[in-house]
């Protein structure tokens, strides 16, 4: 069985990634795992105030729920198109790129599909793009959807 890992961040561009994945999955008769990675670092880096453990637990729970919404919405569209689909959410300390690569390389996937935001110029120099990092860190074939 051909297996595809589709990583999305839930923004508008994800729609194109989903469409491309449907085309690929139907052609290759593949099974798709929808992945969304969100990081604790996202919150911790931005908030300098002290948070109680309870509050932190609530934040994490919200992040988990938001992430599940993203993957479930995508999975619905894939299933509507008769593509066999699973979902996976990673809420962790790793960056999205590291999380995606870890998932891709750990699993038995033939292809990783990801969108590209194409940051330009200075922003790209400093931030790098997730797709670029992923293209470097994974050992799997990568499709970067424009």
């Amino acid at each position: 069985m051909y297996r595809i890992l589709m990583a999305i961040d839930g923004d508008e561009h994800s729609e194109r990634v989903i469409d491309e994945t449907i085309t690929m999955a139907k052609g290759l008769d593949a099974e798709v795992t929808v992945l969304h990675v969100t990081g604790e670092y996202d919150v911790k880096n931005r908030i300098s105030v002290h948070m109680s453990d309870d509050y932190w637990a609530q934040v994490k729970k919200n992040m988990q729920e938001e992430a599940e919404k993203v993957v479930n919405k995508a999975a619905e569209k894939l299933k509507e198109n008769d593509v066999k689909t699973e979902t996976k959410v990673l809420v962790g300390k790793q960056s999205p790129a590291d999380g995606i690569c870890k998932m891709a390389d750990r699993g038995d996937f033939n292809l990783l599909i990801i969108g590209s935001h194409r940051l330009k110029g200075v922003r790209e120099m400093f931030l790098g793009s997730v797709s670029n990092k992923v293209a470097h860190c994974t050992v799997k074939n990568v499709l970067i959807v424009k």
Partner: protein, 146 residues
């Protein structure tokens, strides 16, 4: 109908890209163009000997013929499987990535397939400079074959 552009440099790794491209083209019922980029040999100050225009022409013709032979061989398995395939040699002073993107945009391709490393494997340890640049230019969706 999907249109796939496969870039090859004749390296061993590029054979993997061709194999993968064939699988995908069959699965997606796609039309394929296989291309390669070769530098045009012009007068270079490095050459202290005198070479006539005619000799340059001869050298360039030979290079082009070799490239065409490479592409003809690469196209064989596609023809055997009944996949519609064309070949294209780009000669010039362009960087391979720029030439690949140009062909991709002009030909309205849906997908470009490149290998993660080619002839210059050692210079870029993790991702070949050409595939990296093609992904960065973002002219179309890119599949990087590892």
């Amino acid at each position: 109908m999907q249109r796939i552009l496969i870039a090859t440099d004749g390296s061993d790794h590029a054979k993997k890209v061709i194999d993968k491209g064939l699988v995908l083209a069959e699965a997606l019922n796609a039309k394929v163009t296989i291309m390669t980029v070769v530098g045009e040999y012009v007068f270079s100050p490095r050459f202290s000997m005198q070479i006539t225009d005619e000799d340059w022409k001869k050298i360039n013709n030979q290079v082009k013929e070799e490239a065409e032979e490479l592409l003809a061989n690469s196209a064989k398995p596609f023809k055997e499987k009944g996949v519609s395939v064309e070949t294209k040699v780009v000669m010039g002073h362009k960087a391979p990535a720029d030439a690949i993107c140009e062909v991709a945009s002009e030909g309205n391709f849906d997908l470009v397939m490149v290998g993660s490393r080619g002839l210059r494997g050692v210079t870029q340890m993790f991702l070949g400079s050409v595939s990296n640049k093609v992904a960065h230019l973002g002219c179309t969706s890119v599949m990087i074959v590892k």
